[in-house]
């Protein structure tokens, strides 16, 4: 027997989904359509004239080795941000879950950083690692390590990853913590009686039961790393040194809003749209098979 609500006629269901469709149309389909359309032209900034170039913008981009390199940068950056924001979050959630006293306080403290806007977080971390007045770079100097993310690409990448992942840990913590609370105690107690120690219980029982949450967070965090880390990069490195922290979305901004090259910028957002679309399909097709609901 199906537990599904069925409607008579079409009017009511259409009416009910209309708001969502409207929002998607206004904020997604229309701009995305505009981006696709504009990616076929090279317009002048003032919109006085524009030249149809077909796929010329895409050709221009894909033959540019610096643009291709920015795919690698984006991949490295996204993987690092996702790992650095999920693993510590899970670890903290497990610890907070075991607390009996004061877990409320810990929880609140751990969620706090999520309230900090990415650009502000960027400035905060920049202050700590500032090559001249930064607290951490000063301590590193005392230890004999010369921190200079202004010239060292690896250090710059490390810094933007940490700054992007930091606030995100709270968000992931919240979800992991809720999911942990939902793991049935009886299953864990049964395993404990069978003699399984904590970490064994964690890896064989808890982690598989968390897999829907982990999967959800994986998708959300990758999208976050792709699109929302713009503020952090803008405030900390501006894409430098050289091009070591120029991720795809940052290039969309700088070419479109600094360089006034709207054709190339539109083409880049179309490429980004395709990349993220493919990535999500892959995640759902490949990884979701291993998720137990």
């Amino acid at each position: 027997m199906e537990k599904r609500v069925t409607f008579k006629g079409w009017m009511l269901p259409l009416l009910l989904i209309a708001p969502q469709v409207l929002v998607s149309a206004v904020f997604f389909f229309y701009p995305a359509g505009q981006a696709i359309w504009q990616s076929l032209f090279i317009p002048d900034p003032f919109g006085l004239s524009s030249q149809y170039v077909g796929l010329g913008n895409f050709e221009f981009l894909l033959t540019d080795k610096f643009y291709r390199a920015s795919f690698v940068t984006t991949a490295v950056f996204s993987i690092l941000v996702t790992l650095c924001s999920m693993i510590p979050a899970l670890f903290l959630a497990v610890l907070a879950d075991r607390l009996i006293k004061g877990s409320g306080v810990y929880r609140t403290m751990l969620i706090w950083p999520y309230a900090v806007a990415p650009a502000v977080a960027g400035v905060l971390w920049l202050f700590m690692f500032n090559t001249r007045v930064g607290v951490i770079s000063w301590y590193l100097g005392q230890l004999g390590y010369d921190w200079n993310h202004v010239l060292n690409g690896g250090e710059a990448m490390g810094l933007v990853v940490v700054a992007s992942a930091w606030g995100r840990i709270s968000y992931n913590f919240l979800f992991f913590f809720a999911a942990l609370q939902a793991v049935p105690r009886s299953v864990i107690e049964a395993a404990a009686i069978d003699g399984a120690r904590f970490w064994r219980r964690f890896f064989t029982i808890v982690l598989p039961l968390l897999s829907p949450t982990t999967f959800f967070l994986l998708v959300v965090n990758v999208v976050y790393a792709f699109f929302e880390t713009f503020g952090v990069i803008h405030t900390i490195t501006g894409g430098g040194p050289q091009q070591s922290t120029t991720i795809l979305v940052y290039k969309v901004f700088s070419d479109g809003f600094v360089g006034q090259d709207l054709g190339s910028s539109s083409a880049q957002s179309v490429i980004l749209l395709i990349v993220v679309g493919l990535l999500t399909v892959v995640q759902f097709k490949v990884i979701e098979k291993r998720v137990h609901y």
């Binding site: 090279i42 317009p43 002048d44 900034p45 003032f46 919109g47 006085l48 524009s50 030249q51 170039v53 221009f60 540019d64 610096f66 090559t131 001249r132 202004v150 010239l151 060292n152 501006g238 894409g239 430098g240 040194p241 050289q242 091009q243 700088s254 070419d255 809003f257 600094v258 360089g259 006034q260 090259d261 054709g263 190339s264």
Partner: protein, 437 residues
Amino acid sequence: MKKTLLGALAASTALLSPAMATAETEIQFWHAFTGRLGELVKAQVEDFNASQDTYTVVESHKGNYSETLNAGIAAFRAGEQPHILMVFEVGTATMMSAGGATKPVYEVMAESGATFDPDAYIGSVKGYYTSTDGDMLSLPFNSSTPVLWVNRDAFEAAGVDPDTDLSTWQKVGETLDALKAGGEDCPLVTAWQSWIHLENFSAYHDVPFASKDNGFAGLDTELMLNGEAQVAHLTAMGEWAQDGKFIYTGRRNEGGANFRSGECALFTESSAGYAGIKAEAEFDFDVRPLPYWEGVGNAPQNTIIGGASLWVLEGHEAEEYKGVGEFLAYLSSTNVQAQWHQDTGYLPITAAAGDATKEAGFYDENPGTDVAVMQMTAKEPTANSKGLRLGSFDQIRGIIDEELEAIWSGDKSAQEAMDSAKERGDALLRRFESANK
């Protein structure tokens, strides 16, 4: 809650509208200045408004240079453009190519009948904003040029004579050795590396930065910044960076903090850094002309400017343009300019304003403030030192910054880096050319 919000909205709209109700013709002026500079602009506007009762200039701040340009462009697309838009020098080619969007200043002045003598403006300042036919397209507003700032106390601490000759890079090189040997950790630091060490460097040594007279003679221009002179300079700078004699701090003016705190001995920065350094430095400082390489090109030629100019946008009434003309004439008047020059460290845009400042004894009381003026005006500008007019130049500067970083970190030789900058920059120039055919 909703009601209060709506109420507040209605109230604020009501507050904004009375300006429209007055009989005076309103002129919108969008600029990029905040802080002290913002106050000074506001004072100029208020003074102009008080001086006559036909026009009211309304000034508004629209963010930094890039944001102001973007705001102007977006407003134009929406048909809501201001009459006057401040555009930084890097955006000049973009504005020039937008023929249907801008109204050249010489035309505005001719139509408005306001007093306007193109010859009154300093050649190397107005040259940047003048067409090849000699017509002024936008009004130079704030212009500065790079100079060398010296921390005299740091020199003494390192046992180096602060009055030592720093006119050439050869001598600066020797001084850097001495400073380093004397225990100075930050002998040289710079702001705006591309503007100072490539763009101005090229003009100062009278070597081309780009073909077609640095882009003045046509959009089919190519970068020539990988020439012998530039590469030699960057090679030397690269070696200094490797030896810890030149400290790289970032692409913009981050180095200013290092210099003002007394950490660094020498600083190449805009003459407009004067106000900040004077306010903050707790050490004896000196302004010297930008050094040049003895025997390279025709150095010292003249340096070029940075800063912004005022563009008049199309699409308004003739009556309003008349007011724009009056306002621009007011801004160019000797008293206003001389005051601006003395308050900010920016260059005067007319020779008369420079003379008035001299007569008032300002240069005697503030030694070094005339170095920039002399450096700009010592020689008639050549095709290589009139300025730069390159499309997509903001992005090209970004590319140059990236390649320079590769030199400072030792990843690339100066020649490799500049060849790569040329190749990448030329690709953008070709794109700009095809977008503006």
